[in-house]
Symmetry: C2
Subunit: 350 residues, 2 copies
């Protein structure tokens, strides 16, 4: 808990004193005022987050964390459990969606085993930080112990810190874990107060019958565990997952270092809710990359006061939306840093 | 008119016979079916447009065409008319929004003077194809002659063809012309049938008084000229602009060569409407990059059956939205070409 407390202490509300200066520059670029819309908002937010009037986004890193979920035995997913480990190998070989999109935007992917149910083969590209061999079935008691919840977050912090030494200017978060829309929906419902029906979606693509089953499973898990909505650690332990905890740790560590965080879809937003409950200031360091097709995502984002940058009907996870959005975020910084001003270009003002 | 007729003959409905094959590949990539949402739709559309199962998007070209507008003397813009030429120089020096964003996505910008009101200094990077020194004031008669309308489109075709020799895999279109949201709104209203009030927005940022004036000016121009909604050339001549005609020409030429076209904001969508009225099949070759803040844009896109990829509150024009969207479009092709299949990666299917 010591490491989490250290982060809580380090995370301050970002510094808004630079806001006027960056706004002045944006208004002096050769374009009608505010005509680059959200690109200008993003640039401003990046300046405020980093405290740097000319932020750079050279090192882009996406943490894709994987784990298994005991609740899968209730039949909540369209895919078999072994896909979690198979997909980790796919990440390591570079064949998954996140590999292609991260490469496209010039980001590196850090793959972490936070609790896959089997022992994975060693690989120089794989960080093995197993908290357990998958969580327990949350319909029968807490998904993990309080100690494991703390460990999962602290491991996330450590993994971030290790990677930070190699350079990180912006961080994206991604997930892999068959069944993990189930704990994420539970977290979303408990923290936002929305009903399980409003929050729960079809995940990898389940039919109506399995969706009803999933909703019932989530309700049962919440009922049996009674997670405390305002206690992020309690929610994580009772209805969370190891990758969800790890990513919450990445968020806390990044915010402590004033590094902008790009969240991805439904699962990473559940992580963001956990981190938010631990330290509400983290939300000011976050960008929402996209609005997932997963039903409850919209409510969870709006609870955090975040407006997604993209709306492309995606629901893959892994960090794919975060990768795509990094390109937009980088564009905003180039606008700020590279465009001519009215004066320098000799263009008349309106 | 010969060149336009030649394009009309060349443009065929794209070939949907490859649809099943590309869908099969997309469904075999290591992700839940359709979970990359619109990225998959884009990839499919690109295959159908190009007739190539593995399309490439190496050469990305944005045509930014500039012209002046006689209607500016009615006081419809927040910026003085000289800004058109000043911004052309800014494009040539690389300081404008489009330069920064095109460079960001790896596209080259082709700057064309279609009818700026002054003689521009020669520059190896500037293509001078003046149809006239700005259009006439459309509240007093047609903006241009029928002959000029034809020329503007044919020049657009020629400029595209010239550039095509250097390689074009995807084309974006952009505009510059103080006052050009006024003819674009007139075109939008005439062609979609929406009222002038519904279509007309604040352009570079005019206040309520000037907006009422602008609406009144557009109504007057439509009334005095009675453009024929189903005759693209007639609409262009009566209430259009030289850059709008040139960009319609680029669209026709690109569609004739089965090159995907990325439209930008309000003005380029007016060009798309003109091209659509000349040859309706062109819309199947188009992508809408973003939904502009300019009020009527949404209606014009929906008239063309296009759903924008981005919604970032932008309203700059120049091709800036098209540039940003090219990155998303390119991502879709990389997904198609680079992701592993379930079989190749040894991942179990759902």
């Amino acid at each position: 808990m010591e490491l989490i407390n250290e982060m809580i202490k380090k995370i301050k509300r970002p510094d808004y004193t630079l806001e006027k200066e960056v706004q002045d520059r944006l208004d002096n670029l050769t374009k009608p005022k505010a005509s680059l819309g959200r690109l200008e908002e993003i640039a401003k937010k990046l300046v405020i987050i980093t405290g740097n009037l000319r932020p750079k986004l050279k090192d882009k890193v996406i943490f894709t964390m994987a784990a298994d979920h005991g609740v899968v035995e209730e039949g909540v997913s369209a895919f078999p459990k072994e896909v979690t480990s198979q997909m980790v190998y796919n990440f390591l070989r570079g064949g998954a969606g996140i590999n292609v999109l991260a490469k496209h935007v010039g980001a590196r992917v850090v793959v972490v085993d936070m609790g896959v149910a089997v022992d994975l083969k060693k690989d120089p590209k794989l960080i093995i930080k197993k908290i357990g061999y998958g969580t327990k079935n949350m319909t029968k008691g807490p998904a993990m112990s309080k100690k494991q919840a703390i460990s999962s977050i602290e491991v996330g912090i450590e993994v971030f810190e290790e990677e930070y030494k190699k350079g990180i200017d912006i961080v994206g978060i991604g997930d892999m874990g068959i069944g993990n829309t189930t704990p994420s929906a539970a977290i979303g419902s408990v923290i936002t107060g929305k009903s399980v029906e409003e929050i729960t979606g079809r995940g990898t693509g389940i039919d109506d019958i399995r969706l009803s089953k999933k909703i019932e499973v989530i309700k049962r898990a919440i009922e049996i565990n009674s997670p405390l909505a305002n206690d992020g650690l309690d929610v994580l332990a009772k209805v969370g997952g190891f990758e969800i905890g790890g990513l919450a740790g990445v968020i806390l560590a990044a915010a402590a270092r004033r590094i902008p965080i790009v969240i991805d879809g439904f699962i990473t937003t559940a992580s963001a809710l956990i981190a938010y409950k631990i330290r509400p200031e983290v939300k000011e360091f976050m960008f929402s990359s996209h609005c997932s097709e997963e039903k409850g995502h919209r409510f969870m984002l709006s609870y955090l006061g975040l407006r997604p940058l993209l709306d492309l009907d995606m629901r893959l996870g892994e960090g794919t939306g975060a990768a795509l959005a990094m390109n937009i975020i980088e564009a905003s910084i180039k606008i700020l840093n590279e465009m001519a001003t009215f004066e320098s270009a000799g263009v008349s003002k309106g």
